[in-house]
Amino acid sequence: MQATLSALAEPNRRQIVELLRRKPRAVGEIVERLGLRQPQVSKHLRVLSEAGLVQARPVAQQRIYSLRAQPLKELDDWLEPYRRKWDERFGQLDDVLRDLKRKEKGKKDVHDK
C-alpha cells in the first residue's frame, strides 16, 4: 500500500500508469508520448516495477510494460470507505438541493402571477 502510494506520488509515474491503463506499451512509446528522456522513463518504470504496479515482458528486442491490477485494486479498496463517506454526504445534499429548487420555483411562480 505505502509502496503503491509512494510510487504514484510522482506526476510522471502517474502519467505512465495512465498510459498503460489503456494498453501495454514498449519503453520507446512511453518515452515518445511523455516527451521525457529514456533514462528518466526507465528509472520511473523501475520504481513502478518495484512497487509491483507494472510488469515487463520481452518481445523481440523490446520490453513491453503492462499494468498489474492488484496494487491498484488495493488502493481503490483503501479509498472506498472515504469515498462512501462523501457519497453519503452528497446524496443528502442532493435532497437539500431538490427542496431549494422547488422553493425557488414556487417563488418564481408567485412572482409571475
Binding site: 502510494l5 509512494s6 504514484l8 506520488a9 506526476p11 483503501w78 479509498l79 472506498e80 470507505p81 472515504y82 469515498r83 462512501r84 463517506k85 462523501w86 457519497d87 453519503e88 454526504r89 452528497f90 446524496g91 443528502q92 445534499l93 442532493d94 435532497d95 437539500v96 438541493l97 431538490r98 431549494l100 429548487k101 425557488e104
Partner: protein, 162 residues
Amino acid sequence: MSMTSSATTKVTLPSDTEILITREFDAPRDLVFKAMTDPDLIPRWWGPRNLTTTVDKMDVRPGGRWRYVSGAPDGTKSAFRGEYREIVAPERIVQTFEWEPMAGHISVDTATFTERDGHTLLTVRSKFSSKADRDGMVASGMETGLRETHDRFAELLAELRD
C-alpha cells in the same frame, strides 16, 4: 431516505499531500453554493446519516470561523472547526478544516463550483501539510464506514430480536 442518484463521487490523489473529490449536482451553482454556506442547511447534509450535526459557529467571510458539533446516538460529541480564507460567491470557497480531537492536523480545502446547463460540477481539493496527515484523513473514512456497518448490524440484531 435519499433517492438513488446517477451522479458518482470521484476521489483521486493528485499528489502526495492532496485529495481531490468531484461530484456533479442537478442544480445551478448558486443553489449548491447556498447549501454549503447557509447554517440552516448544513445540519441536513453535512454529517453521516447516523450522526446529528449542529452548527455552533459559521461566520462566512474571509477570516471568519466555523465550528460544527457532531453528535452520536450514544451521546458522545466531537467537533470540527476551521477558518474561511476566501469566499467568492458562487464560484469558490477556501477554508481550513480541523477535527478538534486531532487539533493541529489542518487541511486547506478549496471548493470550486462550475455550472454547465443548469448542472454544477463541484470539486473539493484538500491540501494537507504532510503525507501522513493526508493518509490519516483517508483512513478516517474507514472508521466511519465501520461504525456505520456496526450500527446497521445493531439495528438488524434489534429487528431479529423483536
